[in-house]
Symmetry: C2
Subunit: 353 residues, 2 copies
């Protein structure tokens, strides 16, 4: 049995007994009933994920999957592809958005070269980059499949392996990514899996203008038309329309779910990865927490397909895992409510009349 | 000149030069333009509040103003008034929602007896309670004014003094409150100041049913009818319809603004306090950050009057300052983006084509 098959088999539903125990405690906390709303809903889910009414999410890792995209040559982004590699330097030096936000919330940042088109040897004196490097970027999806099915499996299994390795020191994962051009494959994936039209799930990415936007939509339409991915076969969708980092994210989610650990999914590209993961194993959705509502137009359709409501809505559209790092504080808050707030009995406070 | 007059005079607009300097830096950060959305808007405002492009909000205090309300005798809450005092015990023992969330985000919790109807001497062996105690709860607003104008000034000036005292060790304030019955005076204040009908700004508070809700709306209508508060005179509104803790919150906000420190305003009751503060000094609004959108029906109208959009929307309706404590993490994130993320030049990353 392959690692992918084995991992999918290990994913089980959340523990309903732990959820009930958590709900019973939350019902008795010294506050009007369920007065902390979504924090309490989330606390129940976290109990179910971890199988205990005292979950611990204190050790946090954000994994930033990086890769390049052949389709970037079609002019779908404001930035040249070199920026993927340059931003890895920025991550290593601690100067990027994800560094600042992960540090604030006590999360480690782990960079993975899933397939960057460039020489990363200058950054290899650091332990913070893991090299998977499936290839020098995907093929142009406007001309054919992004990668072979074998490569698609490799991406996902790399993500699983990273989750398992980091799982030794991680209670909660966050997904992140870097890859110039990667909203284009993400929109293609979201369109195929949700059935929405490309123009309804395509956004401005790095900030392209109306003319470039029209080009981007046409490229996505063409990629979908020529590749004919089977919406019911997530591996086929990934291989034909994906990115190496999107496959890595899908694997990370499957790996986290197999270990019964929560995974905070960042924005649009990460959610495309989540759609692949849940296409391979629908139960994986039970371990996913949607961090935030991205500015990217297709994000809400993708989240709706997963049955997820985002925690934050702050107009973010950066990626890197920044929204996940922010939302981790809300997840920790949910746990603290469950584990630290006293019940009416414990505190000697009168309950409702 | 009174302390209140002096404080109002000290409140100046945000520093537009510091805001411009912050905006110029944020424009150059290694990310697509303004890709961290509201974090960046907030970072600009924080620069303006503090008058520096390197704001520091690391020392945080949540002030929980507690008081009782004569109107609670009218059956507007699910809980008996003793709960106000009992919850103070819970705060002191660290068992309440605010303790858990403030601890998570590194904020101190300061409890103030603004006018609790009960014997708090059992908690006085602790330094965490400040005693102002304007009276044993307000008078019943359904029968006459809540307090005298002199008492209204006393509440506000107590809040100012507490802000100034805590200001020595606080960069960012959060408002909080505890007082059984206090959504009733808050709805009355919000109705009078915004001009909305009582039924449109009255919610279910601790969780009352439809019948109690109708009673609550009638009580608020009666309080407004018999007290005839002048909407253009915030002190009059506070005296006739207020609560001691609502006045304390107004004072805390004025005090924070006079020191050019941001103040994160929690939910519905805190926002009623903010309306009083901004009625006395409209410029105080420049130092207010709206933490979250409460479940309480009148909150959005109150925030709209202040020109504020909340940071979080998590279905909270607890008060105590819990939403403020949570939102403080978002405020810190905004500062970290401004002060820790590298520019394109600093990081050697190519900017947009």
């Amino acid at each position: 049995m392959s690692l992918l098959e084995e991992t999918v088999r290990q994913i089980v539903p959340r523990d309903r007994i732990a959820e009930t125990a958590a709900r019973e405690r939350l019902d008795q906390l010294t506050m009007p009933h369920w007065a902390l709303g979504r924090l309490m809903d989330l606390a129940v889910e976290l109990a179910g994920m971890t199988g205990t009414k005292k979950p611990d999410v204190s050790r946090k890792s954000v994994v930033v999957m990086a890769a390049d995209h052949g389709v970037a040559g079609e002019g779908v982004s404001l930035y040249p592809t070199e920026v993927t590699m340059q931003m890895i330097g920025n991550f290593v030096n601690g100067g990027a958005g994800i560094n600042a936000l992960a540090k604030l919330n006590g999360a480690g940042v782990h960079i993975v070269d899933m397939g960057v088109n460039g020489d990363l040897s200058q950054f290899m004196n650091t332990e913070s980059i893991e090299v998977v490097h499936i290839g020098n970027g995907t093929n142009n999806i406007a001309a054919g499949p992004a990668m072979s099915e074998e490569q698609a499996v490799k991406c996902i299994e790399a993500g699983i392996r990273i989750a398992i390795e980091l799982g030794k020191e991680t209670d909660m994962f966050g997904t992140g990514e870097m890859g110039i051009g990667n909203t284009t494959p993400s929109s293609a994936i979201v369109s195929v899996i949700t059935g929405e039209k490309p123009s309804d799930v395509t956004g401005r990415g790095t900030g392209i203008d109306e003319k470039q936007f029209q080009v981007k939509v046409e490229i996505i339409e063409k990629a979908i038309r020529i590749n004919k991915a089977d919406p019911s076969d997530a591996l086929d969708v990934l291989a034909k329309l994906g990115g190496f980092e999107i496959g890595g994210i899908a694997g990370l989610i499957l790996g986290a779910a197999s270990m019964r650990k929560p995974v905070v999914v960042d924005g649009f590209i990460s959610t495309a990865g989540a759609l692949i993961a849940c296409g391979l194993c629908p139960l994986a959705a039970e371990y996913i927490i949607a961090a935030h509502k991205s500015v990217e137009k297709g994000h809400i359709a993708a989240l709706a397909k997963l049955g997820k409501k985002p925690l934050l809505d702050l107009g973010l559209r950066l990626g890197e895992g920044t929204g996940a790092a922010l939302a981790m504080n809300i997840v920790e808050a949910a746990v603290r409510v469950l584990t630290e707030v006293a019940t009416f009995d414990e505190a000697g406070v009168s309950s409702a009349k």
